[in-house]
Symmetry: C2
Subunit: 466 residues, 2 copies
């Protein structure tokens, strides 16, 4: 059985047992079972003391469940975990998420317990995610095996070595409309690790990019080998925690793993095709870009209705080593026909505030057709005055995309907080990622270019070996 088949039981189980499901809202087992009840598959509560949990018939042991169990989600106190795992083994369970904490992250006694749990898992052939984690989500089938709110559906698989931080990011992204395909809090990585997950996610059709929050890696060779293979198929982007000296020491006391020298990590990451992010927002911004086609080069065109926004975007684009495209004469001619005389027809193209949805549509069409343009960033300060609709510029962009069906990436930078919500919704429906900060849009563009370059080089290498 391949690794991919193994892990599919985690993300597409036919049936799930929640061991430690609870009726008491102050227990994690309450939230985990409540969240899992929304899942399409069969979900069974296991509780040694109760006949019903949240109104559902409960079982004293996983062994009592009159059904096969694909996935066990374990939230019992740590002293019961080994016993529960043995029962799971007897039952034939092949995948377990152990949310319970108090293992290798807390000292020698915990580490001993963790080794015991893993040796039981190995004996019965159970793959384990955790322990000491928040759990896992598959937004595409409503599987939420965590105690936090379900992430918004999308195309980024997010794998986090910090559970609480991961959970905080989920909440942040719900507010900011960032979507995920899968969320995996890896916890202590006693069994399933980054490498296994990258390999599984490489074949996941809903995952367009893999975002990792990495504090430390136990088996560096395995990690880099997986990254190298997976990067040829889809982008892997990593944010490393513990880059500074004190940060690295904090990692040691947090996850018990060695953070190592960041320069060494960074070089190894880049050699393996991993894109390196510096902040959480950059990590997610980069990952979200990969719903777009890969660019053929690094020449960026910017369209804006606010001069200052165009200026800031241009600064951020050039700061990252991307070039501003020199627009073709044909494009400039077309822009001149469409825009007011006071518009700026040089790149960044500034329509000035008077431009409407129609002008945006025509400009986008002209710019994506320009052979000198590899990537288009469409920026807009969403208008707040009554003479314009708040969505017309986004509609213009969506219409242009529908008409031209561009084979080039388009990124949006529609600003203005709550005023721009409908416009962003519309862009999203049209498949265009929106960024509210110029630096995030530029990081996304840079990620597309860097990865496209890597892919071409990797393909060339493969071809020359063949």
């Amino acid at each position: 059985m391949s690794v991919e088949e193994d892990l599919s039981k985690f993300f597409n189980p036919r049936s799930v047992a929640v061991i430690g499901a609870s009726d008491n809202p102050s227990k994690l087992g309450y939230d985990v079972f409540k969240n899992l009840r929304e899942y399409g598959g069969r979900v069974y509560p296991v509780n040694v003391r109760r006949e019903y949990v949240q109104g559902v018939k409960a079982f004293k042991s996983v062994l009592d469940i009159p059904d096969e169990v694909d996935l066990a989600v374990i939230v019992v106190p740590r002293e019961y975990v080994a016993g529960v795992m043995r029962e799971c083994g007897e039952k034939g369970v092949k995948a377990a998420v152990i949310i319970t904490a108090g293992f290798s992250e807390v000292g020698e006694e915990g580490a001993r317990l963790e080794r015991e749990v893993i040796s039981i898992a190995r004996k019965y052939g159970i793959r384990v995610i955790g322990p000491n984690c928040v759990g896992i989500m598959n937004t595409w089938n409503n599987l939420n095996a965590t105690f936090v709110t379900k992430a918004k559906r999308g195309y980024v698989a997010f794998v986090s070595q910090s559970g609480a931080l991961g959970a905080a990011i989920i909440y942040k992204t719900i507010k900011e409309r960032v979507g995920f395909s899968k969320f995996i809090s890896v916890g202590n990585m006693a069994d399933v690790d980054f490498a296994d997950l990258m390999r599984y996610l490489a074949n996941d059709p809903e995952t367009k990019a893999i975002a990792l929050y990495v504090e430390g890696v136990k088996n560096g060779r395995k990690f880099l080998q997986a990254a190298r293979e997976v990067s040829r198929v889809k982008p892997v982007i990593a944010l490393k925690g513990g880059r500074s000296a004190s940060g690295s020491r904090a990692v040691a006391s947090h996850t018990g793993s060695l953070a190592g020298n960041y320069r060494v990590y960074e070089a190894a990451f880049r050699q393996s095709g991993i894109l390196v992010a510096e902040t959480i927002d950059e990590l997610l911004s980069m990952a979200r870009a990969f719903t777009q086609p890969l660019p053929r080069g690094g020449r960026v065109a910017i369209l804006t209705n606010a001069g200052g926004l165009g200026v800031l975007l241009t600064d951020e684009v050039e700061r990252r080593g991307l070039r501003m495209a020199k627009l073709s004469e044909e494009t400039v001619g077309r822009l001149r026909e469409v825009l007011l005389p006071i518009a700026s027809l040089k790149n960044p193209v500034d329509t000035v505030a008077g431009a409407r949805g129609r002008e945006y549509r025509e400009c986008v069409k002209a710019l994506v057709k320009d052979p000198n343009v590899d990537i288009l960033i469409v920026a807009c300060v969403v208008p707040t005055f009554a003479s314009m609709s708040r969505t017309e510029h986004a509609e213009g962009v969506a219409e242009a995309v529908k008409e031209v069906k561009p084979d080039k990436p388009i990124l949006a930078a529609f600003l203005a907080g709550h005023v721009s919500e409908d416009a962003k919704e519309l862009l999203e429906s049209a498949g265009i990622p929106n960024y509210e900060r110029p630096e995030d849009a530029a990081s996304a563009a840079k990620a597309l270019v860097t990865y496209a370059t890597y892919r071409r080089a990797a393909a060339g290498e493969a071809a020359s070996k063949a």
Copy 2:
């Protein structure tokens, strides 16, 4: 009359005339008058064609208003602006905000009109903000002389050379709960410029920091002289648009001013005591920090309930050249009494997820009392499970602050999107700025340290000259 007295008519007018006030919601004069009606002072609509505007008796000319007029807000088409200004002069108006566009930013004809308008203003002693601007706000007296929504009240004065970008930032900050004392869209700066505004804001009691979005400066010497003087009183933070080669060219076509070489700007900025920001979020993050006392040094302590968050904060703090404080033995002893054995008592102090509001309170008290700590960053992943309140950690921090009354800066980094809204509200009421991104909290800490160092050096210089 000093500059300060001059500009006070802009921000605290006893009476305002809106010239071009409109009943037609598709006109800017509609929004401007509507916004100004919430102002405490007397506000008069002027419209050549209508007897009433939005139900209020209107005047054909500013000369017909049976009251003194302190401030004129002008939104008539550009060909009428000169005439209107002459009438304002006859009326004795001393301050005019010209929102109307189509002046020096659009070419020679516009530049000629602008010179005419300014020569009229000079003749009558009228100070002018604009033309080609979004207008001005004073959140502390509900003066909103713009066509956009009023900003949230706070302590940052924000001066923007890009109107639309400024407006977009206002909307963004309403959503993100960032407060402003004043907002000034300077437009073409035909009269009132950055230097005048810095000098005025230096004496504004509600302004704790001055944030500038600068594209180009016409009179560099005047600008830097003002910055140098004002920086001795309160911090000036600037984001320069047009740092890259193409960005600089875009500035030339946007505001018509020369962006100049960024390195030259940056060096001149820093020499004059200006703090330099790289992004909008950093600009506002830095400015918001100055509700806090200035730190005596650059040693940072971090408190967190999530290891990953502590790691990322530590990385960002050290990346900016700040040091992580070495906690005193007394502090470590106190933390040991308060926290669970598995907590990490080294800086960053990781309480682990079990810590409650009481633990946060005691830890904050211990950390701010530590003589080795100059700045405290209190981070928290706001809990989402029912056994803890979502506000108890923020309450703990607020209680500690109330009890200790620290003379050191405290910055918060409470994460978790909508889940943390109540906690953030509470921190805000306690006067503690909150940052949802680790890099923003670190930039805020760095700004406090840099400015404190500058102030001490400037004071030393002054003392040695005396």
